[in-house]
């Protein structure tokens, strides 16, 4: 399939946008027209007196459609050291939201607040409010076990369990007691694998070890494992960073398909990937959310100096 560079929220049909910005994909030469054209000079001029590091988040374009997760003033501390400063972000449903920024900027930390994975780290404290469907997920009444059944997660390195392919996918439904009959489980496994685009490749060896799959297959298996419990949100933490370009392409394609059903939040260090798969982008820098908006907007018309510097490759 052909890769589209931007996918706007309106572009739900998935028709490839014939775009003038093909060159955005070219690594360091992102937005060549922006740096050379007059318009770009204007942007530069406007950004000349850049906002201080601690300035408020610039919302380039507000999200359209229903909001799935609303974060307000979220701060994270590791052993008293602050890693995230007052992040407020709206994440719309059935959209891919990309979190970008240089390494150590807090994007993964923020991602992990949304399914309370930070609970598993000793000495980690989260303040602020994160609401999912208007419910504070950090509330005492919310069981993280239940929350994580609703918010799935895919990690940087494929981490299938050292069990059979079948058991990996069946893991979630089994522990949550979602499925009782064996035949029902077969159906769940099959449909999850199909949705993850892996069924064709593994249908004849469901009982063999998941460790024998290739890296790309393992990552799709992990996605299948996550969607087998039918979550509402899927968090992805640099899901392609350990994969080769071909496997990356398959995952990106899959993410695009999954967008129809799930709210997806993806952390990526590759701006090209953010540009290709997401509709919304949030740029983090030094623990702060600097700028957020429609992906197209962020990449073509950043309001913030640091955003521009980052996406044009001056740092990061």
């Amino acid at each position: 399939m052909k890769f589209r560079i931007f996918r706007s929220a309106e572009d739900q049909t998935g028709a490839g946008a014939a775009d003038p910005t093909e060159s955005v994909r070219m690594g360091g030469q992102v937005l060549p027209e922006a740096t050379s054209s007059k318009a770009a000079s204007a942007v530069e001029a406007r950004l000349e007196d850049a906002t201080p590091v601690s300035g408020p988040t610039v919302v380039a374009t507000p999200p359209t459609g229903p909001i799935k997760i609303a974060a307000r003033d979220v701060s994270v501390f590791y052993d008293g050291k602050q890693a995230l400063y007052d992040v407020s972000l709206d994440i719309p449903d059935k959209t891919v939201t990309a979190l970008i920024g240089p390494s150590g900027c807090g994007k993964s930390t923020f991602l992990r607040t949304m399914n309370r994975m930070n609970d598993t780290i000793a000495g980690c404290k989260v303040t602020g409010r994160i609401a999912m469907d208007d419910e504070d997920i950090n509330d005492r009444s919310i069981d993280p076990v239940l929350l994580r059944a609703r918010v799935g997660m895919v990690f940087q390195r494929p981490n299938p369990f050292p069990k059979s392919i079948y058991e990996n996918v069946a893991y979630g439904p089994k522990i949550h007691g979602l499925v009782s009959a064996k035949s029902e489980m077969d159906g769940v496994v099959e449909s999850a694998l199909k949705r993850a685009g892996l069924w064709e490749e593994v249908a004849d060896r469901l009982q063999s070890s998941a460790m024998g799959l290739s890296g790309g297959q393992q990552q799709r298996l992990v996605i299948a494992r996550a969607i087998a419990v039918n979550p509402e949100v899927i968090l992805m933490d640099e899901p392609c960073s350990a994969l080769d370009p071909i496997a990356t392409a398959r995952i990106e394609e899959l993410i695009d398909e999954l967008r129809e059903r799930f709210c997806i939040v993806i952390v990526t260090h590759s701006m090209a990937q953010a540009a290709r798969v997401s509709q919304r982008t949030a740029f983090f820098h030094m623990g702060r959310l600097v700028e957020t908006g429609d992906t197209e907007d962020i990449f073509q018309n950043p309001r913030e100096r640091r955003t521009l510097d980052y996406i044009t490759g001056r740092f990061g």
Partner: protein, 434 residues
């Protein structure tokens, strides 16, 4: 996207799913709590065992650290004390008879009363008196107060270990002897004090005279031999394996070998020592040299493993820097890598020596089960060692040896704690994080 699973956004289906999730939660959390408690109970069990072990040993052993001495005035009867050969005189009988007389008790014809009285004094009385006479012959014909330890059983009674309620035929002291002891205490001639004999004497057949010094010195001599042999060999082997060894079959064999040797039962090393050092090389049985050699072979694998991990912790950049300066491989290892790894090496060495100190089984096989009186001073003479002394005393029939066994264990544990603490301090002090 072809399947027809219900869309989660479909309100009713999503709610049904959530309800199903919630339904299992309580049971799952209960399981979680239960599992956590299994873990806590396991830890608690281990800690309780440790506590019982320690408390029991202290409870059994603390009484051995003090002992009772009786001061008896003895009239050095010129008729019965042999001036030329005082060791030949029966001082114990003399003291016992005079004690009976002082109390106005008539000895029976068979001499039973004086025999019972004699049994209350340690046989040390004879040596104390003989020494005195040998040194100052003018005491003959005079009455001198002699301070001597009570016999082991009498000592136990005064420590409250023997009860009067026990039927007479089930204890070694008669009712009469107990009464006499009470009387002595009432008269104030019995004193209780710290048991120095326990630390200044070698082993003895008399519990009240037996001490751990001989075994401590024996263990020290043995550990010295072990350290002199095992540490250079172990460090050398580790340096070769970690820094020089080529990747080949031979190296693999040596590595596997060392790992397996570390898990060979210690008694097998005892068999090796018996067959090789005693039956083949005819080294003296039960001597520190044989014990040291056996313990060295036994400590070697653990030492190699510890040293290797210390060497591994030195980052390769140090080696590269030295090599880049034109140092040879040997110079790099001996002047850069090894000095940096030294704290780790020393820690490993001390810990393996502490381990060797407590090892018993191989010592039994090379002959350290026999009674060795006195304090040893040479590495080719039979000695006792602390752990084998514990084994010997535990087997002894006299009850007084039981408390001394526990006391010897306390001494052994104190030594081990000192060594381990030294290792920990060394590690804390010099540990380097790269």
């Amino acid at each position: 996207m072809t399947d027809a699973t219900p869309d989660h956004i479909d309100g009713a289906a999503a709610k049904g799913r959530l309800d199903r999730l919630r339904a299992g939660l309580k049971r799952r959390h209960a399981k979680e709590t239960r599992f956590k408690w299994y873990g806590r109970l396991a830890i608690a069990a281990a800690m309780i065992f440790l506590a019982i072990l320690m408390v029991r040993i202290v409870a059994q052993g603390h009484t051995a650290f003090y002992t009772h001495t009786v001061t008896v005035p003895v009239y050095m009867d010129p008729a019965r004390v042999d001036r030329a050969y005082p060791q030949g005189s029966n001082f114990e009988q003399l003291a016992a008879e005079q004690q009976l007389k002082r109390w106005g008790i008539q000895d029976d014809a068979a001499g039973d009363a004086s025999r019972q009285m004699k049994a209350l004094f340690s046989s040390e009385l004879k040596f104390v008196a003989a020494d005195l006479v040998a040194k100052r012959s003018d005491v003959i014909g005079e009455t001198v107060p002699l301070a001597v330890p009570l016999s082991d059983e009498a000592d136990l009674y005064l420590k409250g270990e023997i009860s009067k309620e026990t039927p007479e035929d089930q204890r070694r002291l008669t009712d009469q002897q107990l009464a006499w002891l009470d009387r002595m205490q009432a008269e104030g001639v019995v004193g209780s004090h710290f048991n120095t004999a326990l630390f200044t004497n070698g082993d003895s057949t008399q519990p009240e005279l037996a001490g751990v010094l001989g075994a401590v010195v024996g263990s020290a001599l043995m550990l010295m031999v072990t350290a002199l042999i095992a540490i250079p060999l172990g460090v050398g082997a580790a340096v070769w394996l970690e820094e020089f060894a080529p990747k080949n079959k031979l190296t693999d064999i040596i590595e596997v070998n060392i790992n397996n040797l570390a898990a060979v039962p210690s008694i097998v090393y005892g068999l090796l020592g018996l067959a090789l050092f005693i039956n083949w090389m005819h080294l003296p049985r039960a001597s520190p040299i044989v014990g040291g050699l056996v313990l060295a072979l036994m400590a070697l694998p653990t030492l190699v493993i510890a040293t290797r991990s210390a060497l591994k912790a030195v980052p390769p950049s140090i080696r590269e820097a030295a090599l880049a300066m034109g140092a040879s491989k040997t110079q790099t290892v001996f002047s850069h890598v090894l000095p940096l790894a030294m704290p780790g090496v020393m820690t490993g060495a001390i810990i393996s020596m502490a381990h060797a100190l407590g090892e018993t089984a191989p010592l039994l096989l090379i002959g350290m089960v026999s009674f060795v009186p006195g304090v040893p001073h040479a590495i080719d003479q039979p000695v006792g060692a602390l752990p084998s002394l514990i084994y010997i005393w535990e087997n002894a029939s006299e009850r007084a040896f039981h408390e001394r066994t526990a006391a010897a264990i306390i001494v052994l544990l104190v030594f081990m704690i000192i060594m381990n603490t030294a290792a920990i301090i060394l590690r804390r002090r010099f540990e380097r994080r790269w």
